[in-house]
């Protein structure tokens, strides 16, 4: 039953081994010439004052995009089984899905109207 997933795990293991090996071996293969400037963050001249690790700020728009992504991703989660079983579900399934997409569309239109999809 689940034996068809085993090769995926195999490929995962091989890819992981390759990637971890590459990352682990890199410091030993390459040269090491210490230079303080080399270890500084990339910036032309002045050190960036607002460090990302200690709470660097970035636009709140990204959160909105993430939330919209979740809404539509869940919609997709419902769409896939429906699409596969469409022939068995018949007219009932179609109407149900049109109603569902319609409700999501209302939310979508609201977000659009309120400027949630603008990126300034």
């Amino acid at each position: 039953m689940f034996s068809m997933y085993v090769p995926i795990l195999g490929l995962f293991a091989l890819a992981a081994a390759f990637a971890v090996f590459s990352v682990a071996v890199a410091p030993f293969v390459g040269p090491r010439r210490h230079n303080r400037a080399k270890l500084a963050a990339y910036e032309c001249g002045i050190e960036p004052v607002d460090q990302p690790l200690t709470g660097g700020r970035f636009p709140v728009k990204y959160y909105l995009t993430a939330m919209l992504f979740i809404v539509f991703d869940i919609e997709i989660v419902f769409l896939y089984p429906w699409a596969v079983a469409n022939d068995a579900l018949g007219v009932f399934g179609l109407i149900e899905m049109v109603v569902f997409i319609g409700t999501v569309f209302i939310a979508y239109a609201y977000v659009w109207r309120r400027g949630g999809l603008e990126w300034d």
Binding site: F2, S3, M4, Y5, V6, P7, I8, L11, F12, L14, A15, A16, F18, A19, S22, V23, A26, P27, V29, G30, P31, R32, K38, L39, A40, A41, Y42, E43, P48, D50, Q51, P52, L53, G56, F58, T65, A66, L68, F69, F72, D73, I76, L79, Y80, A83, V84, A85, N86, D87, A88, G90, V91, L94, I101, F105, Y108, W112, L117, E118, W119
Partner: protein, 501 residues
Amino acid sequence: MNLLAAAVPLTPLAAADQPTLEDFGTDVWWIVLIKILGVFVLLVLMTLFAIVFERKVVARMQQRIGPNRVGPRGYLQSLADGLKLAFKEDIMPALADKPVYFLAPVISAIPAFVAFSVIPLGPTVSIFGQRTPLQLTDAPIGVLVVLAMSAMGVYGIVLAGWASGSTYPLLGGLRSAAQMVSYEIAMGLSIVAVFLYAGSISTSEIVAAQADGNQLSFFGLEFTGPSWFIVLLPVSFVIYAIAVVGETNRAPFDLPEAESELVGGFHTEYTSLKFALFFLAEYINMVTVSALAATLFLGGWRAPWPLSLWDGANSGWWPLLWFFLKVVAALFVFIWLRGTLPRLRYDQFMRFGWKVLVPTALVWIIAVATMRTVAREADLTTGQVALFVGVPLALVILVGLAAVSRAANRATRLAALEAAAGSNHPTEPEPEVLPATGPRRRPTGGPSRSEGGFPVPPLDLKVPPSPRLRAREPVAPDGAVVATGRRGSTATATEEDGDDR
């Protein structure tokens, strides 16, 4: 599962070589090992090939030759680059979050490899006497593996941007994440119609569903209709093609790596093999989405039409060739886009994804589902539905789109008209500008160079022919190459340089 299988019968004409879901997960262990190793090597080789191929194709498009030194015709260039990267210093930035900084390239590379595991490369073949499908594995949820893995890849990018402890990578990583999740929606929606038609999410069954076209009867004429989903579902294919370009961060949607704004994007602070892993992941993702495009829309490993008339085309090892031809064609389109289109602005890009691709995909899904349900309930053939519903609908949509785009572009069109009429400024008259003076132009009015005019490069330079043509160009009797745009010693060239009077 049995219920679905009964409700959605496979096409009866599917060849005996067509693997079904029962054929997977039954391989001997050493066959599985061979396949795993095969897919891994294949992906690495495809990456090496894709990089050289991209550089050479872009070079031709820009009238250059491209890499041609390392190996035969330069095809080992990317291998040399990879080895070089391995021997570069591995820098750990002082501000980086060490464990995450190490982990991010790994997280980025692993899903890239794993996503390819469900791509069907060919029919059932025999390897050392074992009958096995030419595909690592397949599952009832086949395509979901690809989608899940491409979603996992986002983590690698976000974490890389965050862990670098630097401003540009953070912004690049965030941009990349926002872009990938936005276009993942469009991509996920675009393939719903394919699942609808194929009645399955398993990649091998989707290929099987594209085996035979419907029998169409068109005013008494009987013929076999097209079976590839690119023909049956063109809108889905277009949305998919655009979405995966955004999903893989490729030009013209390569905003996370917009070097004029963000230096290198999320991998600015990475060097050595860690950087190479990101590079590898990006190109493997490109190969994977190309392979998925071939699987979902271009008939998978099945031979294209004129070749498919030959009986042996869809059995044995030949399909491997057709499959890779399709993948390379898709890769070429990726490269072509990069060579042709300028980068979009970020707001334009996000607007396009959320306001155009997503609603179009949703409307298209409803249209396809309605057509299919109506056809089934009313017992129409697909051809009739397409003729009576699809064609008028397509016309209405086309006219509507044309009207909308004309209205939207009205201002641009007016400005263009005015510019054509001689003014670059729609509101102001064109300011008086001294005509450019150059050594080659002999302007009648403005000051010449000797009178203090500003020297400009020669403006009447001819575009040289492409490097490929140059080899076959006629050679003049005195040995000089004619019309190459080189500054030669021929009489004509001297005559053109007549500004040293």
